[in-house]
Symmetry: none
Subunit: 131 residues, 4 copies
DNA sequence: GTGGTCTAGACCACC
DNA sequence: GTGGTCTAGACCACG
């Protein structure tokens, strides 16, 4: 199974955190479905060109959050995520991101309309790029 | 001179960075005007209940960015900020914040309209709270 | 022969250990009697939906403890268990379990009476559910 | 600050888990109070004769559970645990331990009174030893 | 000084 | 083969 994860070498964001966030998104958004067997930590570490320890940490953190289930000698699986949880998480995550952005706008005395215009512009760009 | 800075003890954001960001905003948005003499490092550290080293770092970083100017034995002043700088900084900062928020939305498969609605809602709340 | 064993997928307890403990209890408590022919490794693995290796390990461990006896080409039988063994095992097992529970109570500064009350409550519940 | 933790070299229980459990108990039971600065990971590792990594893991796990708060460059502190949480946690932990013990009793066909007698005996012993 | 991240590599237990 | 634990040691960022 191939998992699309982009690592940004230059970012200040820790490796393990980049992987965690992206993998979490893939699971939450349903791209990787319940029951899927993820790559073994060694295999994944090979693909991502990082240490096994780093992958292990990612798997373990997500297991602690209840998104993964792992059994020794067998592997690591995506565990069941209730529909409600999924939706709730999505909204929570997105809301947090938007709120912090708006706060930045406020702190810099950006007007409401200025902010909204800039936002719409960015949204269009990003979603177009996506297609 | 009293400088309104809020420190969030529990945030993962480093102390020096919290202070830097807020002080920068205050200067760029014109709340603290050119030529103002900032508190001494010790005084400020006392107010913020943090180490002098932390304040020193803040002053130094902002001096490197050209926002502050230090005169030996006299103190640290807000230096002149051109209109261009101010506008540029505002747009750059806000744009960055918005872009990262939109990316989060994308990563979680949030639709364009969903995102926009949530954004407008948040903007209204925040700006209303501000008044 | 059908053997009632419950596997808890989500437990941290290794598969082989869950099976071993339960099978042991069944033999020692006399639910499975002396001389009984157990299912073949493959058959049992099929029922439990686990690897043959796992069942093999269970049979072997219990054979080492003298609870099972394997005859080449015939199968695995429950061997004779003396009354002494049975009683001894019961007391030892239960005592160990209770001791560790009491230690938890102690470590958390739970008072003697508090602990006893909670215990009686649980015992009643469990034994009632059993009937 | 000296923290009383007993490590059992021979136990199958992982090192980090032994430390975690005991430290957790000390915090939950109020032996170590809110705001206390714990030993640095290096110092603690020295005392416990284990790797810094192991201590780090303990601190991090407990931080994830909300029992500790750590700030880079400053140290690791015991964070506020609401009275309710504390009580709830105690009961939950103890209850779990007792339940699993009673289940063992059941699985071995131990009678209700037999179990209760054994329990009372053990409790008396342990609590006497404690004094 | 503090914690935060990451590495390479070892050894074990489980399936 | 899988994951689980632990080590020693490096380098960085924060105060």
């Amino acid at each position: 199974m191939w998992i699309p994860i982009q690592i940004n070498e230059n970012s200040a964001e820790p490796l393990y955190h980049q992987i965690e966030t992206q993998l979490k998104s893939l699971i939450i958004s349903g791209v990787i479905t319940e029951g899927t067997l993820l790559p073994s930590i060694r295999e994944f570490a090979g693909e991502l060109k990082c240490s096994v320890i780093t992958v292990r940490r990612v798997y373990q953190d997500l297991e602690n959050e209840g998104l993964l289930r792992t059994r020794q000698g067998t592997g690591t699986f995506v565990s069941h995520v209730g529909e409600g949880t999924m939706e709730g998480y999505k909204r929570e995550t997105v809301r947090k991101a938007l709120e912090s952005a708006v706060e930045v706008g406020l702190s810099v005395q950006c007007s409401e309309t200025e902010l909204a215009e800039l936002f719409m512009e960015i949204v269009k760009d990003k979603y177009k790029a996506q297609e």
